[in-house]
């Protein structure tokens, strides 16, 4: 294709001076390069880029974007450096990985004893034809950290189960509940998270997945890097830092919006809500404190709330705050749990 050739450029320089309308080319390149547009429009521009017409002008415009690109504020790519260094056989990471793998084999034996004390247990389950799967179960009222054999780290929220193959050759994880993923980069082996309705594919990034039974939505929130999400309905979506995808499990609708990455603070203890409805908030609190919630009436309050609950807050404190914050309900604490009555 001529667009990649270098010789076309010199010919086009001459053309340029006599034809000022070639600015349309650089305008298309500039706007495409610097902004995001609807998927269909982006595809059209990509095909146009490959089209040999005005190839020299396109290359010039692309080079102008390269020159104008400022990346001073981007995070230092330490993980990418580690990944590249491992691939070209330069020291460090390789030995670290070997060490981690060894540590994990020990952990598989030791963890049950430790974990019971911590209220977390690990057991071998699901004898899949070839590989044994490990279920990592976090009871209600607790959160736990799971170190996977590839160096990825998960903060698993209360009432959640993460399953992964014991032989972690294929980086594949199943999730029921909520977990924050810090995925070790490995471009050659994508990391895949499956929930009932979503498949998230990544090569190295940080993101949160929520697929809680009893809540009608599943969400993927990306705090660093990017992921590709495949829905049960067959649509794919590329998400980047600050992007959030919400799947309505009932209707199959997908919503994309932005969030503040700091809202995933629950992974560091406590519980946080970002743009949640009161129904979602109550469901999450019920799981977090392991207290059954009973509901009467229908919630008509569709407002969304963003708030954080500290690690040490008691359920009484939390309910007192919610009572002041959220309109349209009354509550009573009884022996069998919390009774919510919607007005």
């Amino acid at each position: 294709m001529s667009i990649r050739g270098g010789s076309a450029r010199s010919r086009h320089k001459a053309l340029d001076t006599k034809n000022e309308h070639t600015d349309y080319v650089s305008e298309v390149v500039r706007r495409y390069f610097r902004e995001r547009h609807a998927a269909q429009v982006e595809e059209d521009v990509q095909r146009w880029l490959l089209d040999p017409r005005h190839a020299g002008r396109k290359l010039q415009s692309i080079e102008a974007e390269w020159e104008a690109l400022e990346t001073g504020s981007a995070a230092r790519p330490d993980r990418a450096f580690d990944a590249v260094r491992a691939r070209i056989g330069q020291r460090a990471t390789k030995t670290v990985h070997r060490f981690r793998r060894a540590a994990m084999r020990v952990a598989a034996v030791v963890v049950p004893a430790l974990a019971i004390a911590a209220g977390v247990w690990v057991y071998l389950a699901r004898q899949n034809q070839h590989t044994a799967w490990i279920d990592f179960v976090v009871p209600y009222g607790q959160t736990a950290i799971l170190d996977l054999p590839d160096g990825s780290q998960l903060a698993v929220n209360s009432g959640s189960t993460v399953s992964y193959p014991e032989k972690f050759a294929e980086r594949s994880v199943r999730l029921s509940g909520e977990a924050y993923f810090d995925v070790a980069p490995d471009a050659a082996r994508p990391f895949v998270v499956e929930t009932g309705n979503l498949t998230v594919r990544v090569t190295g990034t940080e993101f949160n997945v929520q697929a809680v039974s009893g809540i009608n939505t599943e969400t993927v929130s990306v705090s660093e890097g990017g992921v590709e999400v495949l829905t049960a309905g067959g649509s794919t979506h590329d998400l980047y830092a600050g992007d959030r995808l919400t799947l309505d499990k009932v209707h199959g609708n997908v919503t994309l919006d932005r969030f503040e990455p700091s809202d995933q603070a629950w992974s560091g203890g406590g519980l946080s809500f970002s743009d949640n409805t009161c129904v979602e908030i109550f469901a999450k609190i019920g799981r977090h404190f392991e207290i059954p919630f009973h509901y009467a009436g229908t919630c008509t309050n569709n407002q969304r709330y963003t708030l954080k609950i500290k690690q040490n807050d008691t359920v009484d404190q939390v309910m007192t705050i919610l009572d002041k914050l959220i309109d349209g309900f009354t509550y009573a604490m009884r022996d069998d749990g919390i009774h919510i009555e919607y007005e």
Partner: protein
Amino acid sequence: MDSCMNKFVTEETVRSLQSGDHQAFETVFFAYFNKVKYFIYGLIKSESDAEEIAQDIFVRVWTNREAIDPDKNFTTYIYVSARNAALNFLKKRHVRSSYVQEQIHVGSDSDNPEDGFFAREIDLLIQMSVSKMPERRRRIFEMSRNEGLSNDQIAQKLNISKKTVENQLSIALKELREVVSLIVLFFTAL
């Protein structure tokens, strides 16, 4: 902000890199990785793929280090690698598209008579502007332009006043006019 983000890599660093110096590779990596990654992202619009492609490029910088000419501008070398990798990725992604295959046979002759016409570019600029419009304005605009509905019909369909339709269309056109002056002709003809 980051002392490792050197703007330029010296000829000396490139020579050290050539002779297999790990420290030189680190310098080169941190000087260019983000720029390469976000440049590729700008072209292919998938960050995970951009990350992967950028890492591949730096693996190749190391494995092909002996072939790098220290007398030539290293930035140009990196730029050309990144650009070609991104365009190759797009080519693979769109290879099944009949449109591209058709175009490949059109040939690379940049002096062909179509050079004077920018209908495709203008169309893309319109598409990009339209895709950035607020939902309702976009819908009204598309009903008017793509479906050929009259302002009355649009008003009826969307259950809004004709005045609103007119206002929204006039804002839409004003936006487009700022982008592409030719659009005026195109539109008054409708």
